[in-house]
Subunit: 439 residues, 2 copies
């Protein structure tokens, strides 16, 4: 019997495969390939002992274990939400009592990814506009495209998103009658995926001021993705944008245990303006009634016992070594090509390389082909960009991740990348006319 065709929803027909999927498959299937592409975390430092001890404690107390194995609430385990609020307040140098929000505005999700998804669902209709950094976190771009949103990118420099250019963009949108479609300003403001850059304090204030000033017929929200905040290696922590939002009305803050603790545990959270928490909570209920209760009890006990913090200390040390290995290797490998630029990431897992404008880095580029021949994989920078207002897409950048590869693999991977690049004659010309990595 011939089958009549499936009629998918509009959402499904807008939902594309992640371009990176093919790359991840390639990385797994190619023996000897060093992947500096995958955003996985350092495997040797996963907190096996800490989690085992935590489970030992939990399961030694059958009533507590049973409570963890039963359904939880949609919003999440109350002691965990309280603990997260306390930690958030401490990081921003505030007392929990002084916060303009409470545990009632904290939602536990399956990693921060699900929080990003739910916020998108709660806010976006097709044709709405979301403004992100350029480059930005490409998985979130997919979510936005799936919901029919238009994504506009604002260039970055060493201090993060150029909020002056955001202001210009918002003014232009207002002039062209499109401001009514702007719903969300998205920033990964700590050690951004993919650039490794953070948003400077004065720009945080400017960003919030812009969100408020341009909130005319409706409120424009800031989605502050602090997924990498705990992975700081240099300097002092910077206060969140959220803490500037003294009425809890303009900023959604999200973070996760995936990166600093264990992605396999899949616990993230959001702190939401109260009037967004209500629909987000309902949508979360429809998704899954709440994240796995067992994992939330685990996360709480890890925080409560101090095991999370002691693990974090070890983890930071492991990542500093990897980051430094990557920076040293880049320095050694590209010293002959001053047109290749990168910034030192003060945290996170990513390093962003910009080649001269005439060096293409895309999936079908000569550089990619040479790199694969040498046995190293990177993420083409264009995956992290959307075309700008003139239709241009930056195609000369790459994302390198020092999360999952070992120090030796990082050194060897960068060496291979440089060897591949060296074969491209375009890198061997004069460098004067080449742009710097960040303005």
């Amino acid at each position: 019997m011939p089958q009549s065709p499936l009629q998918l929803s509009k959402l499904a027909s807008r939902t594309k495969d992640q371009p990176i999927s093919l790359f991840m498959k390639m990385a797994i299937e190619t023996p000897g390939l060093i992947s500096l592409a995958a955003g996985l975390v350092d495997e040797p430092s996963l907190p096996v002992a800490e989690i085992r001890e935590t489970f030992d404690g939990l399961f030694a107390n059958p009533p507590a274990a049973r409570a963890a194995l039963q359904y939880g609430t949609t919003e999440g385990y109350l002691p965990l939400r309280q603990k997260l609020l306390e930690r958030y307040a401490a990081e921003d140098g505030l007392s929990p009592d002084s916060l303009p929000f409470s545990v009632d505005d904290v939602l536990i999700t399956n990693g921060s990814q699900q929080l990003l998804y739910i916020v998108s669902e709660a806010l976006l209709d097709p044709g709405d506009i979301v403004i992100t950094e350029a480059p930005s976190y490409f998985v979130f771009h997919s979510v936005l495209t799936s919901h029919g949103a238009e994504v506009l990118g604002v260039p970055m420099d060493d201090h993060g998103m150029r909020t002056d250019l955001l202001e210009t963009m918002l003014l232009r949108l207002e002039q062209t009658g499109k401001l009514d479609r702007v719903k969300l300003l998205y920033t990964v403001d700590y050690f951004q995926n993919p650039s490794g850059l953070s948003l400077a304090p004065e720009r945080r204030r400017h960003l919030l001021e812009l969100a408020r000033r341009f909130s005319k017929k409706h409120r424009i929200l800031i989605l502050e993705d602090a997924a990498y905040r705990d992975l700081r290696y240099d300097g002092a922590d910077v206060r969140s944008i959220k803490c500037l939002d003294t009425t809890n009305s303009s900023v959604v803050y999200t973070s996760t245990f995936s990166k600093p603790c264990s992605p396999g545990v899949r616990v993230g959270f959001g702190i939401l303006p109260h009037d967004l928490m209500i629909p987000a909570h309902r949508i979360k209920g429809n998704h899954d009634f709440g994240s796995a209760n067992l994992n939330q009890h685990l996360a709480y006990q890890m925080l409560q016992s101090g095991r999370y913090d002691s693990h974090l200390k070890d983890l930071r040390a492991a990542y500093v070594a990897k980051r430094d290995a990557m920076l040293e290797s880049l320095q050694a490998a590209f010293r002959e090509w001053p047109g290749v630029k990168w910034a030192k990431p003060a945290g996170g897992m990513y390093c962003w390389l910009r080649f001269p404008a005439d060096v293409q880095t895309g999936p079908d580029s000569p550089l990619m082909k040479e790199a694969l021949r040498e046995g190293v994989l990177y993420v083409p920078g264009q995956f992290c960009h959307v075309a700008d207002m003139t239709g241009k897409l930056a195609t000369n950048e790459i994302r390198l991740c020092f999360g999952v590869a070992t120090v030796d693999q990082i050194r060897e991977g960068v060496r291979r990348l440089a060897k591949a690049a060296k074969r491209l004659t375009s890198l061997q010309g004069p460098v004067e006319d080449r742009e710097a990595v960040v303005a």
Copy 2:
């Protein structure tokens, strides 16, 4: 500064609070109240020892533990998907090699709820029609309403959905030009929530035949929710609708570990037609990149070690005792009122009571008020119904759950319910004109 209002998405504005939420809150906040409402599982029989032993094994092997704590794949842990496929085949008396689908069509989700959500997202646009049993699983109704779908209910009898009436409905939809909007036929075909009834084998065949016959311009899918299948107490297992779908094109099958093992672990799965698996996989990637890897390793080890099966045996025994306590109590309590009817559930966690048509059971009904005064909570049956084509809504039924209450609480709860009902004079008249619970 006065805040401009949030402009929520159309989806968010369609997403309502679960009417049951208020009830659950009431149950938690009222001391001494016996809840026969909440669909939680039996807490004493949660598999604390089995899960502890499984974790002990996993964490004794650090490389295996690290693999479980790292990111998994979007579709889920391959050995678990293989094991689920083998179990599915065995339950339907088939060899895994003979199945018209493979592990590539198995998607792991956060309970079966997330599978229901993703399938809805992949298929439904506002105005589409989903046909369910009447009564049906009200949480799924909320998901459907959130996506703008129209829900139509087909009456049930002791053999489950009246597929003859479904056929009439489909013919009428075709005549009125609405067949093009019908996307999904939803059935909880094993010990349904809320009725406790199962779909008879000949009706399974009829249902599939109808889905195929009415698939004209596009394919109408059956969503077979087998969440309670493993919780059978009487009789032999019935083969799934899925196994009749020899081309893997018409049936989505879903089940879960939540009910038969642990809701706090939150592992469910779906087996999908291949052309639906592709968009569902993408949507799942956007939701959360895949369910918690640790929990999937746990579920796999529970199945592989036999601990799941031995637990299931104990669990069934516990539930049989509870079900029997509920049936005996109902028999004893309502023997004076032959107009009050219920069927014996052969599995699952629910028992469905139908009062005479003149006894209202709604949240503001005299019966509810009396029941709360006596200290017992039930789910008003109308929460599980949608208005039929004539706009009528059944308001004389209730759902009782024997999952979470103890045997003693079940006995006392039913006694209180009968006492409440006894006060309503409407129950004390002649019974001749009262309808039977199931036609």
